[in-house]
């Protein structure tokens, strides 16, 4: 293997910023993560030209997987246009000459995301990389990493369930809004990064490969395609996604596209009242398109 093989003329950096040895190590960790669904594989997280915590884990996975004919999409909280997404996309475009980027979920082959899985179902031709701040779900109940590793290996997750029990006692429902602990393939429980509960069912039996990269914590884990992912719950208090019904019991609709089956963000409108809008901006645009065509407006 030649570490300089991908250097393009006129560009001081290797294709994909990371050198080929670093990419190889990350790919190896990814393969192991896929082979042991839900297991947190340690890897040597490299220094990236941005602060840890800004998506360096996800970015290293993306840069290790990206090839010259890739179509990449970067989202942050569902939006392609937020600062974090724009900066990461520009960085990828700059360091991977020849690849193309898109905002359309249907067209991309590789998605790097923070906090959301797109509403549009992913296909077997796609890979989604999620940026992870805290990879270990047990960190809230056990401070010692040594003990956490034993708990993972023995699938001892009763203390996470006690947390759910306490939630129901105090609030009559499970109040975990994001990072919902989810059991993968019947053994390891993962922290599925800060995706909302709404996105947790999308992990189950997914057609696309779902990869998780934690740059600061130096861990990679995966939910391989068509793998069982069950959110932890009690047999008589099942897992529930967010409830978007209003006081009258009607499902709220997106103020922009009118869609009633997507995850909604709550805003304070200019008038002072509350308004709801799709969190996934590409999905919202796609819903808007047919509506505009019907009205005869240019899309």
């Amino acid at each position: 293997m030649n570490a300089m093989s991908h250097v393009q003329s006129g560009n001081a950096y290797n294709f994909g910023f990371l050198d080929e040895y670093a990419k190889k190590e990350v790919r190896r960790a990814i393969l192991k993560a896929i082979a042991i669904p839900g297991y947190q594989v340690p890897y040597a997280s490299r220094e990236m030209p941005m602060g840890r915590g800004f998506g360096t884990g996800g970015l290293q996975l993306t840069l290790s997987l990206i090839g010259p004919d890739e179509v990449a999409k970067v989202i942050d909280q569902g939006s392609d246009d937020s600062v974090n997404a724009v900066n990461l996309r520009q960085f990828i475009e700059m360091t991977c000459p020849g690849i193309s980027t898109t905002t359309k979920t249907a067209e991309c082959t590789l998605i790097q995301s923070r906090h959301r899985i797109p509403e549009q179902p992913l296909t077997s031709m796609q890979i989604i990389v999620l940026q992870v701040p805290y990879p270990d779900p047990l960190v809230v109940v056990e401070p010692s990493e040594d003990k956490r590793k034993t708990m993972h290996s023995e699938a001892d997750y009763s203390r996470l369930l006690v947390k759910l029990y306490e939630d129901i006692v105090k609030f009559d429902e499970i109040t975990i809004s994001h990072r919902y602990p989810t059991r993968i393939n019947g053994h390891y429980v993962i922290d599925p990064s800060p995706i909302p509960r709404w996105d947790v069912p999308k992990l189950n039996d997914s057609a696309a490969v779902i990869l998780f990269g934690a740059g600061r914590e130096k861990k990679i884990y995966a939910v391989p395609p068509h793998t069982k992912a069950e959110p932890l719950a009690f047999s008589d208090v099942p897992f529930q996604v967010e409830d978007f019904r209003d006081e009258k019991g009607r499902r709220r609709a997106c103020a922009r596209c009118g869609c009633t089956d997507a995850f909604l963000d709550e805003f304070v409108a200019d008038s002072g009242g509350k308004t709801w809008q799709c969190s996934d901006s590409d999905w919202c645009d796609a819903q808007l398109l047919p509506a505009k065509r019907l009205q005869g407006e240019p899309a």
Binding site: S153, D156, L161, Y165, K170
Partner: protein, 276 residues
């Protein structure tokens, strides 16, 4: 009577250990600290049997190794040598030959432990009910309603006010914390219960009620128990048989009445005399 536990030649040495450790420690040497290598011989050659529904008392002074015995059997600290066989219905387990996951399974499903310090047995950041739920969840009960019912029933049985099910144990009195610990230990109806100085530090009337509770549980559930204490009164009240330990060795074993009325070993004689 069915044997439930068989302990043979249990030993625990803290430190590097040397060939002279055993002969240079013990009651005759009047120390448990090896003068050659500085190791502490916490227990050596401890053997006993325990039968179904029986309470065995383990007494001795501080540092005699009595707590180390139950800690080894409850897998809190692995022993350096020895064997223990646990007979459970028609199965038997070589306790120290099991792997960590099997040990954890036994601990969660078939054993119960009540510590002297409630901080060791309870999680003070979750409610009393949550503490019991933790143990039920460990033994794979996954139904919230059923867990809630069991937790309430257990707390009622151990005379904790039901209105305080969802309070944090740190807001409880010492006696109540101990009751919650007992309820937690009993949650899975274990056939074997370890009690490590459960009444030490509680005032006398509370002590009496906790001891009553332990006796009632023994009568009701036929739970076998190992009671570790330095309090001869507790031994007299609870234990049918007892062993006396000093510097990590068993110096006397037999029926409680016999030991207390007619102690053979000089140390036991002193112990009994001092208590009277």
């Amino acid at each position: 009577m069915n044997k439930i536990l068989e302990v043979r030649n249990l030993g625990k040495i803290y430190g590097p250990g040397c060939p002279q450790c055993i002969e240079s420690t013990g009651p005759d040497a009047d120390t448990n600290l090896c003068p050659h290598c500085g190791s502490v011989v916490a227990i050596h050659d401890v053997s006993f049997d325990l039968f179904e529904g029986e309470i065995l008392g383990v007494m001795g002074e501080s540092g005699s190794g009595k707590s180390t015995v139950v800690k080894a059997l409850y897998f809190d600290q692995p022993p350096s040598s020895g064997a223990a066989i646990f007979y459970d219905r028609d199965k038997q387990y070589e306790l120290f030959a099991l792997n960590a996951a099997q040990q954890r399974w036994l601990r969660n499903h078939r054993f119960g432990m009540v510590y002297q310090n409630p901080h060791l047995g309870l999680n003070f950041n979750i409610s009393a009910g949550g503490n019991i739920a933790e143990r039920l969840l460990m033994s794979d009960l996954m139904d919230y309603g059923a867990i809630r019912e069991r937790a309430k029933a257990l707390l009622a049985r151990t005379e904790v006010l039901l209105s305080r099910v969802d309070d944090l144990p740190k807001n409880f009195s010492g006696g109540m914390q101990q009751r919650v610990q007992i309820a937690k230990a009993l949650a899975t109806q274990p056939p074997l219960l370890f009690l490590d100085e459960v009444t030490t530090g509680l005032d006398l009337s509370v002590q009496a009620r906790i001891l009553d509770l332990i006796l009632e549980i023994q009568q009701e559930l036929k739970t076998a128990m190992i009671v570790v204490t330095h309090d001869l009164g507790v031994i007299r009240l609870l234990a049918g048989r007892a062993i006396v330990m000093k510097y990590g060795r068993v110096i006397e074993a037999g029926l409680t009445d016999q030991i207390l009325e007619d102690p053979q070993h000089a140390y036991t004689q002193r112990l009994v005399a001092s208590a009277l």
